[in-house]
Symmetry: C2
Subunit: 329 residues, 2 copies
Amino acid sequence: MGEKVTIATVARHAQVSRQTVSNVLNAPHIVREDTRQRVREAIAALGYRANQAARQMRTGRSRLIAVRIEPTRDGINGSVLDRFLHGLTETADAGGYRVLLYTARDDDQEIATYDALLGAYDLDAFVLTGTKHGDPRTAWLAEREVPFVTFGRPWDTPDAHPWVDVDGAAGTAQATRHLLAAGHRRIAFLGWPAGSGVGDDRRAGWRTTMAEVGLDSAAADRATEDGIAEGARELRTLLALDAPPTAVVCASDSLALGAWQAARETATDVAVVGFDDTPVAAAVGLSSVSQPLGEAAARCVELLTGLLDGQQRDPQLLLSPSLVLRHTA
Amino acid sequence: MGEKVTIATVARHAQVSRQTVSNVLNAPHIVREDTRQRVREAIAALGYRANQAARQMRTGRSRLIAVRIEPTRDGINGSVLDRFLHGLTETADAGGYRVLLYTARDDDQEIATYDALLGAYDLDAFVLTGTKHGDPRTAWLAEREVPFVTFGRPWDTPDAHPWVDVDGAAGTAQATRHLLAAGHRRIAFLGWPAGSGVGDDRRAGWRTTMAEVGLDSAAADRATEDGIAEGARELRTLLALDAPPTAVVCASDSLALGAWQAARETATDVAVVGFDDTPVAAAVGLSSVSQPLGEAAARCVELLTGLLDGQQRDPQLLLSPSLVLRHTA
DNA sequence: CATCGAGATTGGATCGTTCAAGGCGGCGAG
DNA sequence: CTCGCCGCCTTGAACGATCCAATCTCGATG
């Protein structure tokens, strides 16, 4: 098996200088057609691959993008990350970038990791999944002018940095409209305590849709921590109302699954729609709002590569989820 | 913000040569105690971080490990990868390595990716999740002496390369013993068609355990493709037997979920145990055999770093799964 | 025919690190 | 006293790419 093929090997083989080979790779338009052709053939014949380390040392860019992989919190909602990562990797590959993983227990440690990765590997960019109010991580990155995109809107200052997100309100609105069309009038919402951007957004979609058709919603609005048991508990309180709901829109599949199980236990016919279209929803036949994760990932990468290659494009993007109907609604 | 800190900056600050700084980092024992101390202080004071690209160019090693992220096949079983990846990333970080992702549609493309990654990034090692009979990927890697570990045994030639795996037979055996202890005698197995190493292994655990207590198992052995519908279908055929089983051990949570649903529909009391302890199992309360994924990942990394740093250790490792009891068994 | 200039090509320097070889002072042995 | 060795440190070169400035080529032009 041959000794390693460098740019010099290619140059010799194609009877040109190193610089010409480099130009063919990085600025093809300034090389004469036939020369370019000859160099390309030599590259193919020798199986030459540019050494990233050498390129990186000179240019300071690594063509590496970092993403955090989280400790699979819940399990039921956690597996969403999986699909996102896959999309990210695929799109990045297509653009000549690679995806590097990192973990962190908290924000401070995550910032320390940024520092380490930037220092040692010259990372080109970061993708953050989810942001919260007053996120220290985005501030740190922005201050140092490190390119990054978040999957999830910044809830305080909408234009602070590039982001891609899925329109949660549109998702719950769609679910609510579907239930209305099916004849339901008393439609409840099962969500998280006010204060989380994502949760409030999902609640808003339901509330405004109800208001649009002149239905009052205040009494049928529930807020609780995420979880199956919590979903079941809240559904029972809803059923205890004078005018119990005939359908429930939920902020997560965990809550939806709990609600569905509770409804079935009490032999009550209640339509349920979850959120995220997790494997669990698919497995038990739960209708759910599905996020276009692959597309979201692709857009994140496109935004980043656009940023890195200098071409500015619209740095904010809101995607629409779709409703997956199964047998619970 | 300061200009970049290189090894030369540290050397000047500590009043030594570049090489001495390098030695403190890579071979501390050959540097005198007080000098070492002085250099370490300078490193800390300046916030120096070794530039990976430069190091890599010289040594040909990148401290990068690649893992394939799969296209989330089923969904129900797919989310296992997530936990494995997290464990991998965490352990790798601790050992000073980073994890790089890649995708591939088929074996040929995967091999092409190996080539590309090795050529451009000087990858140190690969982690493969799952192997099949006569896997071309392991052959390719072995031929080129690229370090790699598989999560999953090679079924043809057990000692061909380093691997970590979970003892599937032990898992189904444990499940079967649990059911026996609970008084069951007619215990069926719901698995995949013979020929897949993993599937045959899981079946064997059940069969030998049954044989040990003198119970015949042939009639209650079912083989089908993976899936919820398939699990439900097979359970119905089992219930149609003259002596229907009172319990079923399954090769996957998909099959188990299908079986459980079918059993409940027909109002038959059948104990069900799944395999993999997926989020779905947790959500619906399905008992399942749980693989120690975090530990498996950690061992994979340890094996690799051991290999890379020259110290040989036992290159094959079989971990024991554990039975998670919920309310289906 | 000499000159010009645009475009293509060339050689040298450079990025930050590690490797290979060599220097220097002190200690023990001949 | 001298030599050799050893421990500790320093110097020069190299890894493979890109950037920069200088040079070459060649057709067009005065």
